[in-house]
């Protein structure tokens, strides 16, 4: 399916990541957004509120983020592509509805323009401290998909990726921006609508009476439905059976929860997006993501010119974690450095997968500023020598 040409702002633009995210959502076919103002994400909903009345979309500024994070799910069940947008404290308030989206298998996009925390923390400054929250923030076992852009262009491109994932995997999808990428101005090329590939929502074709909303007919996803199709569906946040009816026992729980996880974990290869270069035979490989990967890229270029053998891996999708990729890296390099704008979150995943095969080092940062080029170069030299 292609994007709607009457809505896509095709052409070259010089805009920031937040605006690019708003335009990307529009291009992705999102026509309902519920949000609540919070720095540094507010410009996304401001952009949406300017654009939507001209393209038949609906933005509603709700009374809080708890409301926003469920309001848009009501629109999804009505048959729309929809999302919510927030940062830090707002994302914390949304967590119960991340779980609701997971258990009801509601295609949901949560945009998180990350800022420093905990609590009110650093409203106007960047961080990558919500990586584990995205993965584990709501109670219970479930899986999410998370995507981290590193430029305004990617804010456009990859919010579309998020909507496509949401449709395909029917799970909460986090778009893990951060303050720097959100407010960074850059050239953004918005392609013609017919060059934007979208995953269309496929509704069940089974007639009423022959369809159960949580039954697996083919593959590992139930068939999607919306209200008004005659199926008289019931959707609940309680553990449920194929009919969607509550079932309170461990067998139903086991069946449901395992599938909520396996429908993501069995598709890591299809979901995973990563870039790596010169890992093979390197003395050290540096792993990073989001805005940090830009500083890292620069640092790696510099030390390579000085003759160091340094590999580079950039994770675009953070969750589900691509274990195979990191295992391969550990086979082909002598040491790994993880660089992230937090006190060490993704490094735990890397350490777990590497399992002592090569040393794993961390370049951390408590948030509030980008990682320093010199710090990265020094660490590379120290580990490589």
């Amino acid at each position: 399916m292609k994007a709607d040409p009457t809505a896509v702002a095709s052409g070259m633009h010089f805009i920031d990541g937040n605006e690019a995210c708003g335009e990307g959502a529009i291009a992705a076919g999102c026509r309902f957004v519920a949000g609540y103002p919070i720095t540094p994400s507010t410009e996304v909903v401001e952009q949406i509120s300017r654009r939507f009345p001209k393209i038949g979309g609906m933005f509603i500024q709700m009374e809080d983020e708890i409301a926003s994070s469920i309001c848009f799910q009501g629109a999804v069940w009505a048959g729309l592509k929809a999302m919510t947008v927030s940062s830090g404290p707002g994302i914390s308030l949304m967590m119960e509805h991340v779980g609701l989206a997971a258990i009801t298998e509601c295609p949901s996009v949560f945009v998180n323009v990350q800022r420093g925390g905990p609590s009110t923390g650093l409203p106007t400054l960047p961080a990558q401290q919500d990586v584990m929250q995205a993965r584990w923030g709501s109670h219970g076992d479930y899986e999410v998909i998370a995507v981290a852009p590193s430029s305004p262009q990617e804010c456009f491109d990859h919010v579309i990726t998020c909507f496509n994932f949401a449709e395909k995997y029917r799970c909460p999808v986090f778009f893990m921006m951060d303050e720097t990428v959100g407010h960074m101005l850059g050239k953004v090329k918005i392609p013609p609508a017919d060059e934007i590939e979208l995953v269309e929502r496929v509704y069940t074709k089974r007639p009423p009476g022959e369809y159960l909303p949580y039954k697996i007919y083919e593959g590992d996803q139930p068939e999607m439905v919306r209200v008004g199709m005659g199926h008289r569906i019931h959707s609940t946040g309680l553990t449920h059976d194929e009919r969607g009816y509550p079932e309170m026992n461990w067998q139903a729980q086991d069946k449901m929860v395992r599938r909520l996880c396996s429908k993501i974990n069995d598709h890591v290869d299809e979901i995973s997006i990563a870039q790596s270069d010169e890992v093979e035979g390197s003395d050290v490989t540096i792993v990073s993501y989001g805005i940090t990967s830009r500083v890292v890229a620069y640092a790696v270029d510099l030390v390579r010119k000085q003759g160091l053998k340094v590999g580079r891996v950039r994770l675009v999708t953070l969750w589900p974690f691509n274990e195979k990729l990191i295992k391969d890296v550990a086979q082909n390099t002598k040491a790994i450095i993880v660089a992230e704008m937090n006190l060490g979150q993704m490094v735990h995943e890397v350490e777990r997968v590497v399992a002592g095969k090569v040393p794993v080092h961390l370049i951390d940062h408590a948030g509030g500023a980008m990682l320093e080029l010199d710090t990265i170069i020094e660490k590379i030299k120290e580990v490589a020598s």
Binding site: R31, F32, A34, F52, P53, K54, I55, G56, G57, M58, I60, M62, E63, D64, I66, A67, S68, I70, C71, F72, Q73, G74, A75, V76, W77, A78, G79, L80, A82, E96, H97, L100, R226, V227, G228, G230, H231, R232, I233, H234, S235, T236, G237, L238, Y245, P246
Partner: protein, 285 residues
């Protein structure tokens, strides 16, 4: 043709889910009975009726009605229903939940949906307690009444729900007890036909917890109290309909208004400002 009379409410129920979880003498089922009759009376086709509940004994209503229905999270039925209602302008969205769900944890959403005049009907079953979790105090528990978390009697001020909904701009506000089945059915029918935000408080017994803990007898005793001490005052000033422990209960239809709904207000404003540049939101039509 069989001679066995078919219960007129069966049509709206997921009969395969019976028996329901509610205790004997609980008032929630009576309210659902009235609701089913009201849906029939209002001639709302079931394909265009969506019921959304929060969490609680009353919250289970969504699971028993045979329409597209959603059992959401505690207190958040209204914001879910907001997204659904705006995106399905051709449907009627009903929020059916308890006093704790709608007025404690969900109180913020209640007042804002009423203020925005979102097109939905909210049915609040007020049993003066958190039934599902074992009878704790709620914002509607009367002064001095006992609850599991006010073992010495409640000492907080209580909400006057019709007054709250009225003050926030609800288009239709009524209160009945489950003794008043005919009147309740009529008001529910009216609410379903109301354009914009309508609110009905249904006073109902929770014999298992509230009645027992306060030594008020069973469900029948509750109905006797409702019968003896209710006075019908349609059009009463909602400021005067507050309740206290085993007090008189003013019931009736209190408020009827005809203000612009959220969607009407949005379209009016956008047309004024954007003219032909405005593309109305059609939802998922």
């Amino acid at each position: 043709m069989s001679d066995t009379p078919v219960n007129p409410v069966n049509d709206l129920l997921r009969l395969e889910r019976m028996p329901h979880i509610w205790c004997g003498g609980c008032g929630i089922g009576t309210s659902v009975n009235c609701f089913a009759r009201a849906v029939a009376k209002a001639e709302i086709d079931h394909e265009h009726l969506h019921v959304v509940s929060g969490i609680g004994c009353t919250g289970r209503v969504a699971g028993y009605v045979n329409v597209d229905s959603f059992h959401t999270t505690h207190g958040r039925a209204i914001p879910f229903a907001t997204g659904l209602s705006l995106s399905r302008p051709d449907s009627k969205v009903v929020v059916y939940s308890g006093d704790g769900d709608l007025t404690a944890i969900g109180g913020n959403h209640l007042i804002h949906a009423a203020r925005r005049n979102i097109d939905m009907t909210v049915i609040c079953v007020n049993n003066f307690t958190y039934g599902m979790t074992g009878g704790q105090v709620t914002p509607t528990t009367p002064y001095s009444a006992k609850a599991s978390t006010t073992p010495y009697g409640n000492y907080e001020h209580t909400f006057n729900l019709p007054n709250l909904a009225d003050a926030c701009g609800a288009q239709f506000v009524a209160r009945w007890t489950v003794y008043h089945v005919r009147q309740l059915t009529r008001s529910m029918t009216k609410a379903l036909k109301t354009k914009g935000f309508s609110f009905i408080e249904v006073i109902a017994p929770c014999p298992t917890l509230y009645q027992r803990r306060n030594k008020l007898g069973d469900g029948v005793m509750a109905l006797q109290y409702y019968k003896d001490q209710s006075t019908i005052q349609n059009g009463a000033d909602t400021a005067d309909v507050g309740l206290s422990f085993q007090s008189d209960i003013v019931v009736g239809e209190f408020v009827e208004r005809d203000n612009l709904t959220f969607m009407e207000g949005y379209e009016k404003r956008m047309k004024e400002i954007l003219g032909d540049g405005f593309v109305p939101y059609k939802g998922a039509k």
